[in-house]
């Protein structure tokens, strides 16, 4: 079969026809710490090349205009000094894997995001003024992600934590199925602000295979919506501290009322076992 594919001309869809930096520079303007990119016709790699190039030239606040589905925005920006941060504003519509492997920088999205926001993100913050697609915060290992509206399938799948590196995900709307699937760590807060009072969250199989971390869920879920591996608990004082802190931050990013949100009904979802499939696969 591959012989045929070779014969018919397999081509590299990502790397074909990339332009060098000196050509890409025409799509940007830099003025001291500030810079602007017009991403209209830039390919994924071209945009990220240019972004890192501007950072190396000293830009720390970068606006990217006319983004239409370019992927991986913000990956690969490595600065030797961990305190040295870049602030990126994306107008309007970033593509998949926004902020993948993000190393401590800030990304603000003025519009919706697609699949894979904060994929394997290491540190920093992503704020999406809109909704996001599937697998938000997949394998995320640090930093914070705030999504104003809904998220799609498999949010926070395999999110993890280690010692003081605890990722946080706050979602203003509701989620679709497999929310928190195989979650291994981190804190996830699902607010359900756009649901009516008697409406249930849309997600089924919440926390299936979950074996670490915690989900704070505001609003209603039926028991069958929860995966077999999660238990429901009441919030204690330390939980409320966490929830209050991040709800405050959420309200700081978006237009929402802290009192109203905190007055809602919260439940805490925890894994009942740290090795849910131990008896299946281990001998």
């Amino acid at each position: 079969m591959n012989g045929l594919n070779m014969k018919f001309g397999w081509r590299d869809n990502f790397m074909d026809g990339l332009r060098p930096l000196h050509e890409l520079e025409n799509f940007s303007e830099i003025n001291g710490l500030r810079a602007e990119i017009d991403a209209q016709d830039l390919k994924h790699k071209e945009l990220n090349d240019l972004l890192f190039h501007l950072v190396k030239k000293g830009a720390r606040e970068i606006n990217i205009k006319n983004v239409f589905g370019q992927r991986y925005i913000g990956s690969r920006i490595f600065l030797p000094d961990a305190q040295d941060k870049v602030k990126i504003d994306v107008y309007n519509f970033p593509g998949n894997d926004l902020g993948v492997f993000l190393g401590g920088h800030y990304i603000n999205v003025h519009g919706n995001a697609q699949d894979g926001v904060g994929n394997t993100m290491d540190n920093g913050q992503i704020v999406v003024h809109g909704r996001a697609g599937d697998v938000v915060a997949m394998s995320m290992r640090g930093g914070k992600v705030f999504i104003r509206d809904n998220v799609g399938y498999r949010t926070a799948i395999h999110m993890k934590e280690y010692k003081d590196k605890v990722p946080v995900l706050v979602i203003g709307g509701t989620a679709q199925d497999f929310f928190g699937e195989y979650m291994a760590g981190g804190k996830v807060i699902l607010l359900g602000l756009n649901l009516k009072e008697d409406e249930y969250h849309k997600a089924n199989y919440i926390g299936t295979g979950m074996h670490g971390g915690v989900i704070y869920l505001r609003g209603n879920v039926e028991e069958h919506q929860l995966g077999k591996e999660v238990g429901v608990r009441q919030l204690d004082d330390s939980d409320w501290e966490v929830v209050t802190k991040y709800v405050q931050e959420y309200c700081g990013h978006f237009d929402a009322s802290e009192q109203e949100i905190l007055a809602g009904k919260f439940q805490k979802l925890l894994p009942v076992s740290s090795r849910p499939y131990g008896n299946i696969y281990a001998y």
């Binding site: 070779m6 018919f8 074909d16 239409f68 589905g69 919706n112 799609g152 399938y153 849309k202 089924n204």
Partner: protein
């Protein structure tokens, strides 16, 4: 721009790239015909979802001047002229051919090894035994006959007032090759860019797949292909195109055209609810879904998929029941969009009014002169 590198060792060929196909569909529910600009630009915006090994378009409302005739698009592999003679014998024996021509192409567009592509506008010419056969059935049986019994011949489009254009290349190259933007208008455009993973990239294997006026474009992998194919063979559909999506096209034809089931039911056959969800339904629904799962078990489409199905008056988007492939719907006025990526819609329609993402297995149905596509809103995010 073919790959220059020749691999010494089969094992290092990038055999299974982890990527997916891209699909896009746009319909004007008022029936207004429009050009291919939106479809081409949207799929161009998702270029990395394909790899130049397949691209194709289905256009509805394409041949208004021949709308009462079946429009057969036929490709002759390797420009095999004896296959063409043989096919034309079959055609003149079984049909009245009112007009035929080579589908115009732009020779300055560099596509790899294009076949000869011809179109015929035909009406059935039945013999006495076949007199009672419905026209559609008759055409299906003759198309199947040509596809299976004549070498190097593939009838890749056989509906009325619609047509499929497809081949090997990026979709925008296929559009340029067939000059779609210059020559044609339609009220539904669906388009596909292909990333063939398990099957060869060849002209017949590009999407859309069609039977009569039904077309399917597909992103994903149907792992139940064997079961589905055997079931379809019981109903005289034979798979000849070496790729999984074909079963979807025939299954749609069987269920929707022959058996007359509405898409709302068909979607629950392809992507049925889990048994434990059926357990929680009321008595009536439980009976319906149990029956569907029992009767049509061999047509359950397993594995990840998103498809856009179209025929006259309808464009439908649906994913597998646990949504292992993405889909986003959008709307602005009478325009309804379905796409693998939301941003492709936004690229071609910056002032979009609505976007939504249905749950797995829930169809988005855009129907002519209705607002039916909005029905899926309340089950979406």
């Amino acid at each position: 721009m073919l790959v220059q590198k020749h691999y010494q060792n089969d094992r290092i060929i990038p055999e299974k790239d982890i990527d997916n196909c891209g699909l896009f569909g746009v319909m004007d529910t008022s029936g207004r015909r429009f050009g291919g600009e939106m479809a081409v630009n949207a799929i161009k915006n998702m270029k990395v979802r394909g790899n130049g090994l397949g691209g194709g378009f289905a256009i509805y409302g394409l041949y208004p001047e021949y709308k009462d005739y079946y429009a057969l698009h036929i490709m002759y592999q390797d420009k095999n002229m004896s296959a063409k003679r043989k096919t034309e014998e079959i055609l003149t024996e079984n049909f009245y051919v009112v007009y035929d021509e080579e589908i115009p192409t732009d020779p300055s567009v560099n596509v790899f090894s294009p076949p000869l592509v011809w179109r015929y506008f035909v009406k059935p010419q039945k013999n006495s035994e076949e007199a009672n056969m419905a026209d559609d059935e008759y055409v299906v049986s003759k198309v199947m006959h040509m596809n299976t019994d004549v070498d190097d011949v593939y009838v890749f489009s056989s509906g009325k007032n619609m047509g499929v254009f497809k081949g090997v290349g990026f979709p925008e190259e296929i559009a340029d090759y067939f000059m779609l933007e210059k020559l044609y208008e339609g009220y539904i455009w669906t388009v596909h860019s292909r990333f063939p993973t398990n099957t060869p990239g060849w002209w017949g294997g590009a999407h859309p797949f069609s039977m009569l006026d039904w077309t399917v474009v597909h992103n994903g992998e149907i792992s139940s292909y064997g079961t589905n194919r055997r079931f379809l063979e019981l109903h005289d559909f034979y798979c000849t195109l070496h790729t999984d999506t074909e079963v979807m096209a025939y299954a749609v034809d069987l269920l929707m055209r022959r058996q007359g089931l509405p898409i709302e039911v068909v979607s629950k056959i392809f992507a049925p609810p889990m048994w434990n969800a059926i357990e929680r339904m009321n008595k009536e629904e439980k009976e319906l879904y149990t029956t569907l799962r029992m009767v049509y078990a061999p047509l359950l489409m397993n594995g990840p998929f998103t498809v856009v199905i179209a025929h006259h008056n309808e464009m439908i988007g649906i994913t597998d029941r646990i949504r292992l492939r993405p889909i986003t719907a959008g709307a602005k006025g009478n325009l309804v969009f379905l796409s693998s990526e939301e941003m492709a819609i936004r690229r071609v329609c910056p002032d979009l009014e609505l976007t939504w993402t249905p749950a797995g297995g829930e169809p988005v149905v855009a129907r002519l002169n209705t607002q039916d596509h909005l029905k899926s809103l309340n089950k979406s995010i």
